[in-house]
Amino acid sequence: MNSSVYMDYNASSPIRAQAAAAAGAALQLGGNPSSVHGAGRAARRMMEDAREQVAASIGAAAREIVFTSGATEANNLALGGTGRQRRLVSAIEHDSLRGASGLELIPVTAAGVVDLAALEGLLAADGAPALVSLMLANNETGVIQPVAEAARLAHRHGALIHCDAVQALGRLPLDVGALGIDLLSLSGHKIGGPAGVGALYIRGGLDLAPALLGGGQERGRRAGTENLAGIAGFGAAAAIAAEELADFGRIAGLRDRLEARIHAARPEAVIFGRDAARLANTTCVALAGVPAETQVMVLDLAGVAVSAGAACSSGKLKPSTVLRAMGVPPALAGSAIRVSLGWRSEAGDIDRFIETWSGISVKASRELAA
């Protein structure tokens, strides 16, 4: 097999050298950030530097950042902590938000964009205190959501707004003030930091009940000894988010080349979210009649890593909830794969993908299944 090609950045990004170095340095530093002696203070200093870096990457103040074990925990904390009676969540949110009970779903259009008129209708229908949750960019289609507009709508109706910005950091300019949001979730491993660390931005002055109780770390909002190596790595990765963003013109070029070649090789292929603004690194494409699992398997045998949806649910064979919410028929949704690019992607990767993928046929897939 040739060397492997990784095209699954929306699942997890390879770590940046700066982030690995920072995590490694933190591992070698003893000390509990809560201890008052010198070793503890050194650990705390390292942690607070990282907090500054993460805060700066989204235009927040350091004291507005709470470190968590990842975006899943950050999303759970945001959804559970405001005490708002109604929780309006878009139909294309990540399972860590959509999985909760007692939610009201905000529909999306066929293009994969949240329906703001529907949101306004929901907000106006009931005066009970509400929390709106809308992601900045979808993990499967890459479609960018009108978060600033949704925030204005939410606030006009006295609601709070949370934004899952996991796929957006380093890929879109991100400023919590400009977006006007109250809560925002971030992930370390999606931006070239380590896995196992994330953050929740909590607008200064906003009251949020903790989910993990104990030693009172993170200003009482998240107990537990902090993941120092993860946090240091996350900070280093956040510090180069601007650099990553500057590289996105190149990645957009690669993605356009990919989609042009997809279209040339297989004119019948359907690319989702094409009518909306999308992240420049994501292509969600369906090849009617060929199950997504087959495409992924054939590509993997050729050393090309893509995914058949979100990684966390990719072990299951149910069609994507995101595509279903966009009104895509189940059969077509079941033949969609996600190709996502990132900082190590290059033109040769596109060629390798096309070489293998363009040859996959309905007939071949039947033979493989037999």
Binding site: A11, S12, A39, T68, G215, G216, E226
Partner: protein, 422 residues
């Protein structure tokens, strides 16, 4: 120069000659340095092997999944469990929150009673208080003056409504080890789940979920020379323990704990367990000898030093002492070349005396002058000897300045003195 000042100068000089370049780390119950062997095992999973372990469709994912599953086996092995019974969390705080809130949340309609103990870690007590607000009935068992619970009191507290007993394996401040096998047998005979917070115990003393009849166990990475930000919860399969998840999402960890698993951290925890398991018998002996040397070295030269917690049933690497006739903050300043703590790290910034010591019945003055010495894998004989010098010199100096000490030496019972009111 008077005699006392001369003595002081001598002691200071001895301390000065021996002063190490960096402070001596004796706070292994707060956290441990990551073992270099653990770091080596982790590093490749930060860089070359970066796949998402939940990506089931390509080899990047498989490689990570394999590493995570190997780590799960290593963790299961050190506690005598099946790997399928181990779920990864972000640390022991999350494990404890999940064990208490998860089990009570699932069972509270039928069994609404939780039993725990007043000397538990703050995250257990805070979870219990939170459950009380949700209508769960909680019994906080007292401890005996040696820090151990009384089994008869536990037995009397169990009712048909009791769902869960949560008693820590080893205390983080005073190091006492509870009678786990006896608690487990009692709980099993009453049909009650037994959870133990073993953050301080795993890797230090033998832990066996079968022999001790443990149903749930919390494990920490950074207390056993693994990384911070990772822990585990053992959840028994037979008979099956049911619990409600706290973090929802992708359904990882068999639905009990969602979120992408941090492969390098999982690998680090696994490796830390494997090393601890291999080295525990010898390391425990070594630490016990060092701990006893420290204890003897201090008490042979200083009177009125009191051990907190049972003398025999304790972690090999823990010594918690109170020093009469000195003042707590002065003592901490006097031994500033030792990185020790006066209680748990989470609460170490507060000046309140430890609730654990208060629960033992230690009086306020002695609780204020307690020092927790935590010894560990990288502690040396030289460091212990230097620590003895530092402590003896600081306490002697402070006592020489103390009128109370002077009076005590003259045989005056301080409690009998009637102080003038101002």
């Amino acid at each position: 120069m008077n005699v006392q000042a001369q003595k002081l100068a001598e002691v200071t000089e001895v301390a000065g000659r021996n002063r190490p370049v960096t402070p001596i780390y004796l706070d292994y119950q707060a956290t441990t340095p990551t073992d270099p062997r653990v770091v080596d095992a982790m590093l490749p999973y930060f860089t070359q092997k970066f796949g998402n372990p939940h990506s089931r469709n390509h080899q990047f994912g498989w490689e990570s999944e394999e590493a995570v599953e190997k780590a799960r086996e290593q963790i299961a092995s050190i506690i005598g469990a099946d790997p399928r019974e181990v779920i990864f969390t972000s640390g022991a705080t999350e494990s404890n929150n999940l064990a208490l809130k998860g089990v009570m949340g699932f069972h509270k309609d039928k069994k609404n009673h939780l039993i725990t103990c007043v000397t538990e870690h703050k995250c257990v007590l805070d979870s219990a208080r939170h459950l009380e607000m949700d209508g769960v009935e909680v019994t906080y068992l007292p401890v005996q003056p040696n820090g151990l619970i009384d089994l008869a009191v536990l037995e009397a507290a169990i009712t048909p409504k009791t769902a869960l007993v949560s008693i820590m394996a080893a205390n983080n401040e005073i190091g006492v080890v509870q009678p786990l096998a006896e608690i487990g047998a009692l709980c099993r005979s009453k049909g009650v789940y037994f959870h133990t917070d073993a953050a301080q115990a795993v890797g230090k003393i033998p832990m066996d979920v079968e022999a001790m009849k443990i149903d749930l166990m919390s494990i920490s990475g950074h207390k056993i020379y693994g990384p911070k930000g990772i822990g585990a919860l053992y959840v028994r399969r037979k008979p099956r323990v049911r619990l409600e998840a706290m973090i929802h999402g992708g359904g990882q960890e068999r639905g009990m704990r969602s979120g992408t698993l941090p492969t390098p951290l999982c690998v680090g925890l696994g490796e830390a367990c494997a090393i601890a398991q291999a080295e525990m018998p010898e390391e425990a002996k070594r630490l016990e000898a060092l701990r006893d040397r420290l204890h003897r070295g201090i008490t042979e030269r200083l009177p009125e030093v009191y051990l907190n917690g049972d003398e025999n049933h304790r972690l090999p690497g823990n010594l918690n002492l109170s020093f009469a006739y000195v003042e707590g903050e002065g003592l901490m300043m006097g031994i500033k070349d030792l990185a020790v703590s006066s209680g748990s790290a989470c609460t170490s910034a507060s000046l309140e005396p430890s609730y654990v010591l208060r629960a033992l019945g230690v009086n306020e003055e002695l609780a204020h002058t307690s020092i927790r010495f935590g010894l560990g894998r990288f502690t040396t004989v030289d460091e212990i000897d230097m620590a003895i010098e530092q402590v003896v010199s600081a306490v002697s100096r402070l006592r020489e300045l103390s009128p109370l000490w002077e009076m005590a030496q003259e045989g005056i019972d301080i409690k009998s003195i009637k102080w003038a009111e101002h």
